[in-house]
């Protein structure tokens, strides 16, 4: 292997990248911009439930109940149903997530100490949110109950005991703090992808054959190209880091040098996967389709961004083969937990393993083609 030839390839690739301004933009700046947009969408603190209210009672107490339920903004009244008829259309038209019906005589029954009934019709399509909102509604209603009549009934069974809750690493449990480091793994896919495409492109355009006749060897060619996209990737990582810390004020509790090192590690692994894809397929369209279907979209669902990594063997195995799974825990560990290299060793080594194995496979496939 000659360092000189390696650098020649790197220079060629660097020229290609810098001459194509759009490509340069997509590889370096776009991840940062995407991070800003995605973070705003993902960081919404969930829980706002739209309700339609049909108040047949129309008393001070029933109005009190509604305002108690909506007091802190978790529930918003989007419609007051006056006329008779099918209330379900509010659910079908997606105007509301649930309809609350307070029957006539609610207040009279409650004040006389009899159990008063209210009815709630909920849209169960989004099962998780629906059961969460129901739980929330139930606890609101029960908290309201003692205020209605018999205020002397034992309110809190936990009088002698309190529950003290503390959240570490993200004290206020703000979504933005936990989503921004996680989303970094997703947006930093872009440089790796560009790398795979650069290889597929040479094959498709036939310029690859031109390279074969030069004295450049397979290893030099690969490493030379890799170098350029690795640098571009780390650069966009730094940009994303600035977005995270300045724009979203996510603390970086770990070391900056660890961040650089582990981002380079992530780039190695994700370019590795792209590389194997690129050496198997014959054109860029196929490379795109393959990466989209097995790598990119699954990253959103399997890698532990929103929900923990699945327990079932097949999704779990696939999740561990995805570099983003490891980088999401690295990124959250570095930013929020302030972990160092030794605590993140497992994830870092997994990335390195994925990277080296993939690079080796593609090199073998590659040398075979050169021969």
């Amino acid at each position: 292997m000659s360092l000189h030839r390696l650098l020649v390839v790197a220079r060629k690739e660097f020229r290609h990248l810098t001459r194509d301004l759009r490509l340069l933009f997509l590889v370096t700046v776009a991840p940062g911009l995407l991070l800003i947009t995605l973070s705003y969408v993902f960081a919404l603190d969930v829980g706002q439930v739209d309700i339609a209210v049909r108040d047949l009672d129309q008393t001070a107490l029933s109005r009190d109940l509604v305002s108690h339920i909506t007091a802190d903004g978790d529930f918003t009244v989007v419609a007051r149903v006056q006329e008779e008829g099918n209330v379900e259309r509010f659910l079908i038209n997606r105007t509301a997530d649930m309809v609350l019906v307070i029957p006539r005589g609610f207040s009279a029954r409650a004040l006389s100490g009899e159990p008063a009934q209210i009815q709630c019709i909920v849209d169960g399509v989004d099962a998780l949110s629906a059961s969460q909102s129901l739980g929330l509604l139930e606890s609101r209603v029960q908290a309201f109950a003692p205020r209605m009549g018999d205020a002397t009934a034992g309110l809190s069974p936990v009088a002698g005991l309190s529950i003290e809750e503390r959240a570490w690493y993200n004290e206020a449990l703000k979504s933005v703090i936990s989503m921004v480091p996680g989303l970094m793994a997703v947006v930093l896919c872009m440089p790796a992808l560009a790398f795979a495409l650069a290889l597929a492109r040479e094959k498709e355009m036939g310029s690859f054959e031109g390279l074969i006749v030069t004295p450049v060897r397979g290893v030099e060619y690969l490493i030379g190209k890799l170098l350029v996209y690795e640098v571009g990737g780390v650069l966009s990582g730094v940009l994303a880091l600035l977005v995270a810390t300045w724009w979203f004020e996510v603390p970086l509790r770990g070391a900056f040098s660890d961040f650089l090192l582990l981002t380079a590690d992530y780039m190695l692994a994700s370019t590795g996967i792209s590389l194997v894809v690129a050496s198997v397929v014959r054109n860029q369209q196929t490379a795109m389709f393959l990466i989209l279907m097995i790598f990119f979209v699954p990253s959103f669902f399997l890698a532990g961004l929103l929900r923990p990594v699945a327990e079932e063997p097949i999704p779990r195995a696939l999740a561990h083969a995805l570099p983003s799974t490891h980088f999401i825990s690295i990124s959250r560990g570095l930013f929020l937990k302030g972990l160092g290299l030794s605590a993140l060793r497992d994830q870092a080594l997994s990335l390195l393993g994925i990277g080296l194995v993939c690079q080796a496979i593609s090199l073998i496939l590659f040398e075979k083609k050169l021969a």
Binding site: R22, C120, G124, V125, L134, V158, I163, M288, V297, F300
Partner: protein, 376 residues
Amino acid sequence: MLLRIRNLIRKELIQLGRDVMLTVFIVTLPALQLILLARSTTASIVGLDVAVVDRDRTSASRRLLEALGNKEELEIYGLCPTVNEANRLLDRGAAILTVVIPEGFSRAASMPGSSRATEPLAVQLIVDGSNDLIADIALGAARQAVTDVVADAAGGVGSSTASLVDLRTTVRFNPTFDVKLFTVPAQVGFIVYQVTLAVASIGLARERELGTLEQLMVMPLTRLELVIGKALPALIAGMLNFLVMLAVAVWGFGVPVRGSVWLLLGLTLLFVMAEIGFGIVISGLAQTQQQAILFVFALAMLDMAFSGYLVPIKSLPAGLALLARAAPLNHYLTIMRSVMLRGAGLRAVWPHAAAMAVVGLVVTALAVRNVSRRLD
């Protein structure tokens, strides 16, 4: 004109068919992804690891331990002698939650109000906040376990207030809270989206990169004919995939189609055409396939975020709300769910259909205009 379009379509189909690998992938990968993702995302969140520091060591604290373990969301990782040790588990990510049961827990729990004068005892819940969604779930479950055990020990005082207001709930469309019914239609939508965009976005960029666009330019084709010819393979790929995925969803996963299948089919066609518009705009804007593909991925990230599936998108800031409304995928997923599960008709979903149609028309016009400018 029809003949010219037919010839162009034939050329496109021959080209697609000759690319055996791509064709095989387009046929097989979507089903694979649907099965894999549907299976792994429909499981509810269970078995979050909890480290417990038990300083009480009484039958009451053991009952709490048991109650925590019985919560399906939680799983006892182990008992730790000290809080520090438990917290190291949090650092490593081996546990999500530490529960510290204080000394005197059993006394305080069994005699409500008795220790009010003395220092109040606290059960400490320390949660890993680095994923706030999971933290919320773990905290909620643990809180419930503690309250249950204490209420139980105190002799069920809490239950007397509960009967004052009786909340009767009716769950519509999905009475068993089956998560699958929510996720599978969305996954089907995602797959149709990916396939359509992947096929549509490359066409022109590839011709330009390989130099064959010039040949197309000298042919007696109008720009509209060119766009139609490029759109058709994507249309076929998208619609075929939809039919196969729908079959998998209905027969494989038991998702009902309560509304009209024809309505679903018609609106899917509208959606596919809108996405093809996006694909051709990208394809026309990009100078190389590499650019086109990276644009597609950037667009896909935004579309997935705005789809309302991964996270609810109710209270977006104004600018982003506008973007979300322009994303056809967002409308399409709503339509899929409404028609399949809520049995909605066109009357209920027409605003979404109209939005898709408007966006589709705008991007298609843009696509045609763009092609013309490049050809001149």
